[in-house]
Symmetry: C2
Subunit: 697 residues, 2 copies
Amino acid sequence: MTMHSLSALFEPTSVAVVGASSDSDRIGGRVLRFLLEAGYQGQIYPVNRSGAAEVQGLKAYASVSAIPGTLDQAIIVVPSGGVEAALQDSIAKGVKCVLVLTSGFAEIGPEGRAQQDRLVAMCRAAGVRMVGPNSLGLLNVDTRYFATFSTALNGLQPKPGPISLATQSGAFGSCTYAMASLRGLGFSKIVATGNEADVDVAECIDYLAGDANTRVICAALESCRDGERLRRALLKAAAAGKPVLIMKVGRTELGAAAASTHTGSLAGNDAVFDTVFAECGAYRPHSIEEMLDIAYLCAVTGRLPASADMGVMTSSGGIGVLMADHAGDLDLAMPPLPEAGVKATLELLPFAVAANPLDVTAQITAVPDGIGRSIDLMLTHGPYATVFAYLASAGLSPQRFESTIASLAALKAKHPGKDMVMVMASVTEVNERLEALGIPVFGDPSRAVVALAGAAHMVKRRQALYTLPAARAASAALGDVGTEAAAKKVLGEAGLPVLPERLCASAEESVAAAQGMGFPVVAKIASPDIPHKTEIGGVILNLQDAEAVRAAHATLLQRARGAMPTARLEGVLIAPMLKGGVETILGVHMDPTFGPMVMFGAGGTAVELYRDVAFASAPLDATRARALVGRVKSSALLRGWRGAAPADEAALVDALCRLSEFALAHAGELESIDINTLVVREKGAFCLDAVIAKKSA
Amino acid sequence: MTMHSLSALFEPTSVAVVGASSDSDRIGGRVLRFLLEAGYQGQIYPVNRSGAAEVQGLKAYASVSAIPGTLDQAIIVVPSGGVEAALQDSIAKGVKCVLVLTSGFAEIGPEGRAQQDRLVAMCRAAGVRMVGPNSLGLLNVDTRYFATFSTALNGLQPKPGPISLATQSGAFGSCTYAMASLRGLGFSKIVATGNEADVDVAECIDYLAGDANTRVICAALESCRDGERLRRALLKAAAAGKPVLIMKVGRTELGAAAASTHTGSLAGNDAVFDTVFAECGAYRPHSIEEMLDIAYLCAVTGRLPASADMGVMTSSGGIGVLMADHAGDLDLAMPPLPEAGVKATLELLPFAVAANPLDVTAQITAVPDGIGRSIDLMLTHGPYATVFAYLASAGLSPQRFESTIASLAALKAKHPGKDMVMVMASVTEVNERLEALGIPVFGDPSRAVVALAGAAHMVKRRQALYTLPAARAASAALGDVGTEAAAKKVLGEAGLPVLPERLCASAEESVAAAQGMGFPVVAKIASPDIPHKTEIGGVILNLQDAEAVRAAHATLLQRARGAMPTARLEGVLIAPMLKGGVETILGVHMDPTFGPMVMFGAGGTAVELYRDVAFASAPLDATRARALVGRVKSSALLRGWRGAAPADEAALVDALCRLSEFALAHAGELESIDINTLVVREKGAFCLDAVIAKKSA
């Protein structure tokens, strides 16, 4: 097995603390104190320029080069002015990686950015990896390697567990760590990547995907520099069967505004992150608590559920309905209890509501092992990957609950492929017993269902993961695509369905073109300077005869001259007028990080009013293109709306695939493509207009 | 001050436990044990037919009538067969109310329902109030009156506090009680109304609205029998300035399906409950935890915030953005920090991001009383009713946090009209100190904002509350409104804008009518048996000349005969064809509990695809009608969409008001009204079609 490039970061056997202080409350002192208190078994070398012989009881060194033997890692906590020298010294010593906790680099402005770039250049030249600068550090709870100055460790000791966390922002990481620790969740590894001058969150996810002690990966991004690296890391975690819960704040307009104030970076297209996370099988929680709830569920069961199908056994009808409400909100399925299950349930509990939810009523208390037997019925007869049991306050009395724990242990052995989740008020002692059996416990019925929904989303997404595109031969340059006619021509050559149309220089030419195509026709102004024709009245529809075409030709030229006197006018485009069909919008947005993103919408007004559009990364195959269409509500219009004949969805899917291939082939040149409108008819789909914007040189 | 009719229920001075048992684990024994353990100071009289002299150390009685002196309340816990006799005995003794905990009545079927009806009749005749049967009981924590057999009391003792809870389902109440108690929330009163044969949740809300010890009302409904009582109670609580958090499960399709299995009742129109709660100033949480978060916030601050404007002071940029994201999701406003605030902030903290969120950065730790001074700047300069402060893990170290508590106390005195909310990891000791100052503490930044959003919704809703309609003089009966023409006629008489149209028996009559109106016209089949004309092709639009009208007349009759051979055909309606304008849909649904509900939607397809409709209770005045229109997204189409001239919203608002008055005037006769379509043009609105359905006799 080859070592991961970050192994020496998370699992060093020797470490120097450069800037170690005797004052265990100062930053450089805290790092050393936490390492000592944790009981880290590797070699620790305090480095302090003062020439002190000892720091916090350890032999100290005046420089890294003075340390005897080999050294894996240097933690640098000196003031920012001294970081370059400390790095040089560490590189000279032969470290594999450095962890730079010092701040005052790119985050404070151009000067700091230049200084940071010098650190990166030094590391690159030496083949040394760097986390930071401006990192809050990392924790490897398994090896007790606590390399951080976070004050959260003053109050809360990390518990070992199967969850790992990679976060750009140290403050976000501290908040998550504190919330998790206060509820008793344990961690394997935590790392804060800070300014990400070298190592970023994506690479940490990649490491954690292969880390044997990590079963659940939590992550938090503020930005992403390398889209392909992030995609690869998420896909690797998905392949390893590990849930990935990834947060990125700045989702809403208010949030994005706050983000741009705080980080100075533009918000970018948040929908792109949503799309990439989903395509690569990760789930994006909206709150830290939601992230921890899902992580807890998966950490305790040790896996993702087999499906999104859930059953509920409950001692309260109302709580069962509440849980069904959330299942309905969150696209979980609650298949009915099959007939055999109903029969068996009514034999055991004649007054039960034998359904899903299964309301066992107060009767359950009179039946020996009623809880275990009811859950067994759900697991045996129902097609439920997960069965929730709402047990009121049963978990508050450990003694009385003892026998139920024994039955649950037996059920776990009997139904190894299925998961049980208890929902009840309970004490820590009971929770820990159940968790050891692989059974999570939630106090709030709603949060239990929300947690499963997050896990189930990952399950569904991983059934159709994105595939990174194979390398492509370079395409010929696009040439001039500044007019509608030119744009349609290249799209037509790329296999998109474009209507025959003619660029006509005179009214007579327009009439002849129309007569050749057959009436009715559409006339549009043709100018490289007027991309948005409708805004100046540059499109006239439904011309029924030669006279109308002649008049339209003149009108269009006149309107264009009136509205944009300096525009270069090439003439008038004449095209057949299509009636009927469903209007759709296809687009491509070139994301600087993630490459070409395809957009789809249907139904005109709805796109704008309801933002009823969906995105997908190029390239699309037919399956993913169909899924993209399916994610848009107004696609119902394509599927036999109100008794109309279904539209030719295959033609639409083909157009989407070809558009995505075209975008990928010309990714270097393109900025965006807008096909507004593509009409999808009973037979065929036709691109009525197209605008291609190239990157400014 | 007059006594509330439920005073003797919540505050009895003497009580008989009918069915009291010596076995303190059995139901009848538990009730008595809890009363004794609680230290209730009123008289307690155990009643037990066995003739035992003592039960659990108290003198026992063989019947209620044997009790000496007066008696306020009887708690009945005998088996269901003995309830009638126990009630008779209690009534004879002169009790003011009874609390029937025994189950086995309406909830088990028709026989139980009949037995329950007899209990009600006895109570009514005697002027005695009854809670239950099938009630889990009640708690008055203030007077230590614990009248329940809930096992939740075995593990969790109630803490006194300003929150009260009225719930129909006892199990739902137990779950809420357990969740609240485990997080340290205290209660004033809790009542479970069970089968609601007499007292319902609405009446309990009415009581709690006037209860001095209750500052926050939580409630949970499964159904509602008396819409006006519920509305009055909610409005009374709103007038008293008390937040009302009311849950009703069965929101989603899955939930409603589960609800109908469990309670046997049809789900009803969930949107109606949403509407009524909002109109009466209450908030409907989607989970118990959300309800408790909002209750906690308001209980600690002692009020609703003055507005929905919030400020955030944070030591982490990322957490600030996260909170802004939720504010964006939930319609909270985050006004910018005014210039003077920015200036003062930068004087104190030169490296801060002086905005809202205010990111104080790590610099804060170097400034004496940095936290207090930063919050003060937000409170002093910003227009924020609530300021959140995210303080990482500061609350984990009570000693270090001591000085901050002192500054917060000073700020509370300095800014009495504004609220502060701390968000941090903290220990109970710190939380309790802050709560005593009126400052809530949340561990999860997201939940803190969600809680404020719930409170802010109530604030906004209470600025425009529903007013119960004054009694109306009886209206003349509607007569036959089974055809479009008849329906339009009565709506026209009610002041709705109806186009002139003519019912024509022959093709010649149709042509003459069209010529009289001017072309183009619309022709529609007229039949009392064909309410949904478009489905059989019974509407032909845009007829341009006499020939077209003649042909259409024949075609319509032919289509109607073909599709519905037995339909009575009255002829063809000819009406002017309107072009342009925005299509809207107006409707009235007669809710059996809440009366006429007006529905509004716009934009045709959107109504169905996106369920983009809103509801409001009749009657509507212009303000509420405008608000109804404003709640629909596609109303943007009315307001100058894409450069079009704005539509005549005043005409639409007038139509909505008149429709609501009409519905209220004929509430007894109506089942529903559908006006599909009302076209709103630049000048005027016109009702193109209408269907009125009357209740079946």
